[in-house]
């Protein structure tokens, strides 16, 4: 075996070991690497009231109610949903059917009290006319985006 060959195998072996080690670490930290929980995650693994975490999903159509400076809405992943209340300014992209990530805690009655609401953008980009045409032809499937 030439020295070049040996160096090649050493680099390849090193990269394999490193790759496996990283994969193991990332798998074991899987739960703590997520930015938010979905309503279904929450139903499967309930979080104690008062503990801070983030919840993400779509703002349920027709669920937004403005009560003075307080907003009430539901975050849904189309399987489960969680009622949310929020007092403060909402981002520009916040609207019904749109992805959202709220930070806060659950109160005793199971309502999520948000201290901060972020709008989540999906991966689709299109001109307004195309979006309007899609909606008109019934090809509009916003729920498929998440």
């Amino acid at each position: 075996m030439t020295r070049k060959r040996r160096r090649l195998y050493m680099v390849l072996a090193g990269m394999c070991v490193l790759g496996i080690a990283t994969a193991l670490v990332l798998t074991s930290f899987r739960d703590s690497l997520v930015f938010f929980y979905s309503p279904t995650d929450l139903a499967a693994k309930p979080v104690a009231a008062g503990r801070n975490f983030r919840i993400g999903g779509l703002v349920k159509d027709g669920s937004v109610v403005k009560d003075g400076v307080i907003y009430h809405f539901s975050v849904t992943d189309l399987k489960n949903e969680v009622p949310v209340t929020y007092k403060g300014m909402l981002p520009d992209l916040f609207r019904e059917g749109q992805g959202v990530v709220a930070e806060g805690h659950l109160n005793d009655s199971g309502t999520f009290v948000a201290s901060n609401v972020l709008a989540k953008h999906d991966e689709k980009y299109m001109p307004p006319e195309v979006a309007a045409a899609l909606k008109k032809s019934g090809e509009w499937r916003p729920e498929a985006s998440n």
Binding site: K4, R7, L8, V11, G14, M15, L18, G19, T22, L26, R30, L33, V34, F35, F36, Y37, S38, G56, M89, L90, P91, D92, L93, F94, Q98, V101, N116, V117, L118, A119, K120, H121, D122, E123, K124, Y125, M126, P127, P128, E129, V130, A131, A132
Partner: protein, 244 residues
């Protein structure tokens, strides 16, 4: 493959080839950058949700691509330098690092500028943003490592190992949006089901990607040539000292 690489790794041949490529890559950069910026800023339609803010994407997304691409290039060049001891490979990796760091920084800054009006925050510690910040630190660490050795052969070896270890971050960045819940949106262009961007918005994006690539090639040629000449100068100075 190894034989082919040997041919191009000869510094003299490298200088000859690159001086032929250089004017073309420079012209291509200017033309593509002008075309990309013009179509992106004036021709492309606004997005149905983001409005005019979507135009940040034409600077942001290709910059992030370049950050990943240049790091991968550095890792490959470092491996070639480490295994086959090609001097030009080491110098190419060294010369590429500051360019990659600048593109990564640009993508982080423009992403932040987009995040404030769209998401409602400048920064969050989600998997995509955090792994991209780690990429910037890897670039800076790589540059610092080169500076911290007096002996260039030791420096190139240490830096090459860092580049190879750090390359594990590249697939993590790419797939972070699929593996974990992130605030950052999933992939729009390189997806299994094809691009999810309407063609009139996608075209300027791809032109900008090509423009950045041509810009990288142009800068890389300048920087590698400077490295080769600096090394020659050092050898000349050393032999002059010995003659005295």
């Amino acid at each position: 493959m190894a034989i082919d690489l040997h041919k191009y790794a000869n510094p003299r041949r490298f200088l000859a080839i690159t001086s032929a490529i250089y004017p073309w890559s420079l012209a291509l950069t200017v033309i593509l950058l002008a075309a990309g910026l013009y179509t992106g800023l004036f021709v492309a339609p606004p997005d149905y949700q983001q409005g005019e803010t979507v135009r940040i994407m034409f600077v942001h997304v290709p910059a992030a691509w370049m950050g990943l691409m240049i790091y991968t290039f550095m890792a490959v060049a470092s491996a070639v330098g480490l295994i086959w001891k090609h001097p030009v490979a080491d110098l190419s990796a060294k010369a590429a690092a500051p360019i990659g760091a600048c593109f990564t920084f640009l993508s982080l800054v423009t992403g932040s500028l987009w995040g404030e009006p769209m998401w409602g925050t400048w920064w969050v510690w989600d998997a995509r943003l955090t792994s991209m910040l780690i990429l910037l630190f890897l670039y800076l660490g790589y540059i610092a490592l080169w500076q911290s050795f007096d002996d260039p052969s030791k420096a190139s070896k240490a830096a090459a190992i860092l580049a190879l270890v750090g390359v594990i971050n590249v697939p993590i960045i790419k797939f972070s949006v699929d593996w974990w819940n992130t605030l950052h949106q999933p992939a729009s262009v390189a997806t299994m089901s094809g691009p999810k961007i309407y063609s009139s918005i996608l075209t300027p994006l791809l032109i900008m990607g090509l423009a950045y690539t041509a810009f990288f090639v142009t800068l890389l040629i300048i920087r590698v040539r400077a490295e080769i000449l600096a090394r020659r100068l050092r050898i000349l100075q050393l032999s002059e000292l010995q003659e005295r």
